[in-house]
Amino acid sequence: MYAIEAQGIVKQFDGFRAVDGVDLKVPVGSIYGILGPNGAGKTTMLRTLLGIIDPDAGVRTLLGSDRPITQSRNVGYLPEERGLYQSMRAVDTIAFMGALRGLSLKEGKEKGRALLEEAGLGYAADRQIRQLSKGMAQTVQLMGTIVHDPKLIVLDEPFSGLDALNQAKLEKMIRAQAARGVTVIFSTHVIAHAERLCERIAIIAKGKISFDGLVSEARDRLRPQVHLETETLDGIWRKALPADTRAEGHWWHFTLPETGVEPLLTALVEGKAGIKSLSIERPGLHDAFVAIAGESVAAEMDEPIAGETL
């Protein structure tokens, strides 16, 4: 069962293909990250999936419907470009966003106050948005995104503009929603967030998806790295080291051979290498990203934008 399914989605503007044949499947109840550098097509893809803009080609279903707007009441969306009515009170803003999604104003206000209290912002409920700090305003918008208890939450670059404390709060909120069975899909250009939160990810660059699957599957695309320190520098045991081995004095760095760690250990011991230390490092998502998307795309990632901390 998928919360979002997309096949062959194409969206172009003035001849530029912002999204180029995207296939995507987001399982219900998962935390799904869309990774890609700025300008990769993440926002356009999310807008297309949500029905804000229509694709030029391809099909997509959102919570089983090919007309995403009909599922509005079950969806919460936090756009990349945050926006609120400046003269509206915080609690009214949350209620208004809930009302857009079918919640009554009365219920929206009650739930809005409760959410603000929970976030430690109860004192600011009756303040106008213009009187709030940027972080507080973003929290209010986030509350407005979830006030109607959606089944699917779509967050476009939710961490940008937040300080470390608020990023941690947001991660907690995402986990809490997922624990309730809510599907959360978010885009980010910061790999660390995806690595900490997501079960599944999609990697997008230049409008194309180059990977869609479990985080572990992405990591498994790379063999673990072995870091070996020996007493001797030469011997029969050297034949057990793979061709990509990089030597640094008594240190040897190489990819774990397909045959596994046991044959390697046997060869080292029998060859009297004199093992001083040996560690096997599983590759991180960043390494997997580099391997999948390429060095140049990876170089554009993880660059903090204004006001953002990693």
């Binding site: 503007f13 926002t43 969306y77 926006g83 857009l100």
Partner: protein, 408 residues
């Protein structure tokens, strides 16, 4: 449809509240009273200037006895015919003593401000002045000299006034005045109020909330909600203005007396109100669509002038058609959506038939919906893109109203 209307109501409620609770709304309500105040002040000042300015005078240079007879007769007839009917008279010379004095000499004296000079006798008066002045004064001078020669020969009776609402003479020609009045009123209200819709989506675009709206509800609801909110505000304004205006007219008893329209006053007023709403919805939907594609307030200001001009042309066309009842141009004005409300107000004043108003209203409503959907389509096509609205990826150029490429 139900969901579109529900969501439109959410938008309308937000916008309406935001407008009427803003401090600027009081200025909106007071706005129409400023020209009225300026008009009253200017009128009062003009009246004072007119009163203080030297009034033209008929100079009398006949024999003093004849001149006095004329002045007495003027006073007598003015009682019945009105003071304003006769120009003031003043004895400026005496023919018996000033003999052959040239009348031009009297006219040259600036302090007397004479329009004409009357010489000769009552039986053979000579009026000297410019042609225009002589033409204006001759008839009343002849009337006065005739009565002065034979006082008591004609007695003016004092007719008793008995006013009625309508006569057989209250025909199509007279009703045209009512038609024009209705057209002007609806046109000015539409021009004043519908133009405000132009900048209506700029707030949402500048504060980025447009994306939340677009993701949550159909764009038709956003447009419709904004249109309804502005219509609500316009109707509230009209209610306040007509109430204050009505009280003012009651106090001053200055209610203008327009000829009764062909469909009768209650239906005419109802139709004017309905056609105002229709004109507002059509122009509002058009302006909303145009304004929605403008990326900045500056762009909205740029298009305000041509939009106002287009409205004026539309109004003049409808006014022109009013004088061509039944002719193709009038029929076209009644069918062409933008001029239809104004042309149909003209018809309501001139013709008693009602069914074609029903057809026109349905047609106008349909066209308003069509314009709204077109605006939504253009908005989604040209504005809702990734990154900055209307910006072409790659070359950094921007599209004016999402359509015309402008410099980077």
């Amino acid at each position: 449809m139900k969901e579109i209307l529900r969501a439109a109501f959410v938008i309308a409620r937000r916008d309406f509240s935001a407008i009427i609770y803003s401090k600027a709304f009081i200025f909106f309500l007071l706005g129409p009273f400023f020209p009225v105040l300026v008009g009253i002040a200017a009128g009062s000042l003009g009246g004072q200037i007119a009163r203080e300015a030297a009034q033209p005078v008929v100079g009398l240079a006949m024999a003093r006895a004849d001149s006095q007879k004329l002045i007495d007769m003027r006073e007598k007839l003015a009682v019945n015919m009105g003071e304003s009917y006769f120009t003031q008279m003043k004895i400026v010379g005496d023919a018996t003593s000033d003999g052959g004095k040239n009348p031009q000499d009297y006219l040259n004296k600036k302090e007397d401000n004479l329009s004409v000079v009357l010489t000769g006798t009552l039986a053979r008066p000579i009026v000297t002045g410019t042609k225009r002045s002589v033409d204006r004064e001759s008839a009343s001078i002849e009337l006065l000299t005739a009565h002065a020669l034979n006082p008591g020969a004609v007695t003016l009776s004092d007719a008793k006034a008995d006013f009625v609402a309508e006569t057989a003479n209250n025909d199509k020609q007279l009703r045209t005045v009512t038609a024009q009045g209705g057209q002007v009123l609806v046109f000015f209200l539409t021009m004043l109020l519908a133009g405000m819709v132009l900048s209506n989506l700029v707030e949402e675009k500048s504060n980025k909330i447009i994306e939340i709206l677009a993701a949550s509800i159909p764009m038709e609801s956003v447009f419709l909600g904004k249109l309804f909110a502005m219509l609500g505000m316009a109707l509230l304004g009209i209610l306040v203005w007509t109430t204050v205006g009505g009280i003012g007219l009651q106090v001053t008893q200055g209610l203008p007396n327009f000829p009764t329209p062909a469909v009768g006053w209650p239906i005419f007023i109802t139709l004017c109100f309905t056609y105002f709403i229709m004109a507002y919805l059509m122009l509002g939907a058009l302006f909303l669509g145009i304004g929605a594609m403008a990326a900045t307030v500056r762009e909205v200001q740029t298009i305000s002038m041509p939009v106002t001009m287009a409205q004026l042309i539309n109004f003049f066309f409808a006014s022109y058609a009013l004088t061509k009842t039944g002719q193709p141009v009038e029929q076209f004005a009644a069918i062409f959506p933008f001029s239809s409300p104004f042309a149909m107000i003209g018809r309501a004043a001139l013709e008693p038939t009602l069914w074609h108003h029903g057809v026109a209203i349905v047609g106008q409503l349909f066209f308003a919906i069509l314009l709204l959907r077109l605006g939504v389509w253009l908005f989604k096509r040209n504005v809702m893109k990734s990154g900055n609205a209307g910006r072409i990826k790659g070359d950094g150029k921007r599209k004016l109203f999402g359509l015309i490429a402008v410099g980077g």
